[in-house]
């Protein structure tokens, strides 16, 4: 009875807040939990295949979206928080609103993207059948303290996993791979790409965890793809990268095909997104989906119509101008987005960087100084840099100190006005890359929607 009231009250609140245009994807979950604190555990207890929790610093949303495409491919319904509502109230909102009329979801499985800080709670309340971890980078440290705190929170969730549960881990990230130490059922994914795809040694590249998680000595990399992701071993204690079960072995950027190896089988998968980080997202999604025993030869077909999640290198047209939107939230992610912009062949590129420092963005903007604009700046081919947002001057300063000439940098504090000005002042041959933090991205989306310029976005 209590559950029934909780679910219906939450749905009502959700309905009202949608009608009144307030969005607010966490409110129904908050209401439901207030009425019945056990609402999430009760709802997931009826899922015959249980819950998959997907966490990590970067790539959660895209990996979950890819995995959802695979899992839903043949019409099997799953519950998935595609709104990116990934705190415990967001997970609860997703579960209570999974059905229109019945209380319990009909789906057999829930795939829940989960914020690292919500992992202990989510683990305890859902006893997941699988936990997928993408990577650990420094992100919004002002919220969680230090990276080791974040790793600890994920460990707590793992200890709550069902006894037959699978751990799906990025083998190329030492701290993530080490979570699999002494665990029963672990599936590793990783990259084994030809050498030319690897990072040039810049010396000042962003590296968060290059020390052995077992003994603390500096790791040695045979190959490094970006940041601390690669094929490593410890010269001191001998611990090394686990051999991945699912490996991306080839990435054909021209035909947008990624080849994934599993045992002796090779499969070719479409991937219409730039950036090596998306290769990780793809192979991670494949490994996650395979815990459910999907037929491997079906995967390519299931991904054919995949569209990137909201603001994750997403394309929008404004009056014949090509605009790309890519969320930036931490040094490694920002660096990867810039690398992807550099890969683009367009002759004329303008950039708009919008930095806010609200809670959801991370209130500390120190991380901008960890993005290697010194090395990247000159080789991106960006003719004009526009900077916006609450911390526009911090960003302008970052570019100035990286040696980007003053005349190429324009400060317009309001991102919406900046984008309009850029469209007005540029010719059609100019491609505009918009790189906002989270709340700036939400503001820009609303602006674009009001002007009628966007394709249908997922709920943010």
């Amino acid at each position: 009875m209590r559950l029934w009231v909780a679910v219906w009250a939450a749905r009502l609140v959700g309905l009202v807040s949608r009608i009144s245009g307030r969005g607010g994807s966490s409110l129904p979950g908050m209401v439901a939990r207030r009425i019945d604190p056990l609402v999430l555990s009760k709802l997931v207890s009826r899922l015959s295949k249980g819950v998959i929790l997907l966490t990590g610093t970067n790539g959660k949303t895209t990996t979950a979206a890819l995995a959802a495409s695979l899992l839903q491919c043949d019409g099997h319904p799953i519950v998935h928080n595609q709104a990116g509502a990934n705190l415990i109230v967001g997970l609860t909102s997703t579960m209570v609103q999974a059905e229109k009329w019945r209380v319990y979801p009909r789906a057999a499985l829930a795939l829940l993207e989960t914020d690292e800080a919500s992992m202990p709670r989510a683990g305890q309340e859902t006893h997941p059948r699988a936990i997928v971890v993408t990577n650990f980078f420094r992100d919004q440290l002002d919220r969680y303290g230090e990276l080791s705190t974040t790793v600890g929170m994920v460990r707590k969730a793992i200890s709550q996993m069902a006894s037959d549960g699978w751990l799906v881990l990025n083998a190329d990230d030492p701290q993530v791979a080490f979570l699999g130490q002494d665990q029963q059922h672990v599936i590793y994914f990783g990259l084994d790409l030809p050498v030319n795809a690897t990072l040039e040694e810049t010396g000042d590249d962003v590296v968060d965890a290059r020390f052995c998680p077992r003994c603390g000595q500096a790791l040695r990399y045979r190959q490094r793809y970006y940041a601390h992701l690669g094929d490593y071993s410890c010269p001191n204690c001998g611990w090394s990268r686990p051999i991945p079960h699912w490996t991306a072995t080839l990435w054909d950027k021209q035909s947008h095909i990624v080849t994934v190896r599993h045992g002796n089988d090779l499969m070719e998968l479409p991937m219409n997104m730039p950036g090596i980080y998306n290769v990780y997202n793809l192979v991670g999604a494949v490994a996650a989906a395979m815990t459910q025993g999907l037929p491997a030869h079906e995967m390519g077909r299931c991904l054919e119509h995949f569209e990137p999640a909201f603001g994750r290198m997403e394309q929008v047209m404004i009056r014949d101008h090509q605009i790309w939107l890519a969320l930036v939230k931490n040094p490694v992610g920002f660096t990867q987005v810039l690398e992807a912009v550099g890969d683009w062949p367009e002759s004329s590129k303008w950039a708009l960087i919008a930095i806010n420092d609200r809670y959801a963005d991370g209130q500390d903007v120190s991380w901008l100084w960890d993005v290697d604009f010194e090395t990247l700046g000159p080789r991106l081919g960006i003719d004009q840099w526009w900077v916006s947002g609450m911390r526009a001057y911090d960003m302008a300063l970052r570019l100035k100190y990286a040696g980007i000439p003053d005349e190429k940098v324009h400060v317009v504090e309001n991102p919406n006005i900046a984008l309009d000005m850029m469209v007005d002042q540029s010719t059609r041959t100019v491609t505009i890359y918009v790189m906002p933090t989270y709340t700036a991205l939400l503001d820009l989306r609303q602006h674009l929607t009001q002007k009628g310029y966007t394709r249908h976005f997922r709920e943010g």
Partner: protein, 252 residues
């Protein structure tokens, strides 16, 4: 003394433990020092001081050391102690050092981690650090007694440790907004001769160009008799600075 009479056109900046102690954009401080020196025609060579690696102390003109996670901090603490005699000799000569967060803690007598581990520091500053909860996190606005204009310093703090000043320590600044050393006595950081220890990230120096210039002037002339470096535009820097000051005023 005018700028043109200064002969030093090359400085060596020792960046201690950049691999272990590099949290929260601390690299930005090095970038700021190099940038503002470079614009004045002073070439700065950044030398990394890593675990066990020999350091040519006689050539060092200034020292920077950043913060690190507890686990990283404990890894370098022993090595840092071994270097203390040479480092403090140079600091006593008057070369400037900027120590942020974890580095500041290790300049004191000791730093006790949340796990109760007591990491001995080099005791150059008369401060001690105890663990505390919750972490002190947020914008900081404070006012320093250093001879710089404006007197405000701004940054972002993020630390679990609470630092207490001994009778021999001089605070860097008085807190207007934020927690500072310990959240109780309204002090932030500590200083001795030309060494500054502080909790301010942000990164600190890009948004506090007046402090950057003061450190550079000490590097050029460790006796401290040089009054000013050649003046240099800092309007963009001060816009970033004043944004945080203005937020502090709203709260006050």
């Amino acid at each position: 003394m005018g700028w043109t009479s200064i002969k030093k056109s090359h400085l060596t900046l020792l960046h201690l433990y950049p691999d272990h102690m590099n949290l929260y954009g601390d690299r930005g401080n090095v970038i700021a020092l190099v940038h503002r020196a470079g614009r004045r025609g002073i070439d700065v060579e950044v030398v990394a001081g890593e675990l066990g690696k020999p350091i040519g102390w006689q050539h060092v003109d200034m020292v920077f050391m950043g913060g690190g996670e507890d686990s990283h901090q404990s890894r370098i603490a022993e090595d840092f102690l071994l270097r203390a005699p040479e480092l403090t000799r140079r600091l006593d000569d008057g070369i400037p050092m900027l120590a942020i967060c974890g580095a500041y803690q290790l300049l004191g007598h000791y730093y006790r981690t949340v796990d109760g581990q007591k990491l001995p520091g080099i005791g150059y500053l008369d401060v001690t650090t105890e663990p505390g909860r919750p972490r002190a996190i947020g914008d900081v606005v404070c006012e320093t007694t250093l001879p710089i204009v404006p007197a405000t310093l701004v940054g972002f703090e993020n630390h679990g440790g609470r630092t207490f000043l001994g009778s021999g320590a001089t605070p860097l600044a008085t807190i207007y907004r934020g927690q500072g050393n310990n959240g109780q006595d309204h002090t932030e950081g500590a200083m001795k001769l030309h060494t500054i220890g502080t909790y301010l990230h942000g990164s600190l120096l890009p948004k506090n160009p007046h402090l950057t210039d003061l450190l550079l002037s000490w590097a050029v002339d460790p006796s401290g008799s040089l009054m000013d470096l050649a003046p240099m535009d800092m309007s963009l820097e001060m816009k970033a600075h004043e944004l945080i000051v203005a937020r502090g005023e709203k709260v006050r």
